[in-house]
């Protein structure tokens, strides 16, 4: 009964022990969380929970299994922002280059 199983549909699949180690969310994680909520909540409501989920489900299995939780979130936010016309890929790529350059020069946080 595993035909067409979405990558996120994992109820009952084998898995190992539960790692209960936790950490307070980092600032970056909190910012991703906040950004996600601001994008989705009124008044903006650019996309909803179900659109978020189907975008996560469109990730590759390798990425889904190998990525951190907030890494997935910021990745799907990027996709949805482009899909909804809020930002363009070109703008994002240009800004990423700028942010990395600043960081390499010792200035970014």
């Amino acid at each position: 009964m595993s035909e067409n199983r979405a990558i996120s549909d994992i109820g009952g699949l084998p898995a190992g022990p539960i790692d209960r180690e936790d950490h307070e969310p980092t600032l970056v994680e909190r910012r991703i969380d906040a950004l996600m909520m601001l994008m989705r909540a009124k008044p903006r409501a650019f996309w909803g929970a179900d659109e978020n989920r189907r975008t996560i489900e469109s990730l590759t299995p390798e990425f889904y299994e190998g990525s951190a939780y907030y890494q997935r979130w910021v990745t799907v936010m990027r996709r949805l922002m482009v899909e909804k016309g809020i930002l363009t890929e070109a703008e994002i790529e240009d800004k990423l280059a700028e942010v990395r350059a600043r960081h390499d020069e010792g200035g970014a946080k």
Binding site: M1, S2, E3, N4, R5, A6, D9, G11, G12, W47, G48, A49, D50, E51, R53, R54, E57
Partner: protein
């Protein structure tokens, strides 16, 4: 107006439609018991693609015996159950008489 009543036996469709769905694979094709009715909600399979998700669908909490799901291959006790919240368009009345006694 709800299609199902608390206590009804219902069978989950053994279906594998394309796209986003919220009925987990582990309950598809199984028969369970309606334990709660939550009212009407928009269809998540359509909301996922920017559609309105209307008309709203009835949403039910359906309980399954662990043995019916896993046939003993798990870590649970006899009588333990698992529930899922399932939209009416995945459910049909079941014919078994499990709860008739």
């Amino acid at each position: 107006m709800s299609r199902f009543e608390i206590g009804d036996r219902v069978r989950v469709a053994r279906a594998f439609p394309p796209g986003h769905v919220r009925t987990p694979v582990f309950v598809r094709g199984l028969t369970g018991t309606v334990v709660r009715y939550f009212g009407h909600f928009r269809n998540p399979s359509e909301l996922a693609y920017g559609m309105t998700g209307l008309p709203e669908l009835s949403l039910y909490q359906v309980a399954f015996d662990m043995d019916d799901v896993w046939s003993g291959d798990g870590a649970y006790a006899a009588g333990d159950t698992v529930t899922a919240d399932i939209y009416e368009n995945w459910l049909e009345p079941a014919e078994d008489k499990k709860n008739a006694a």
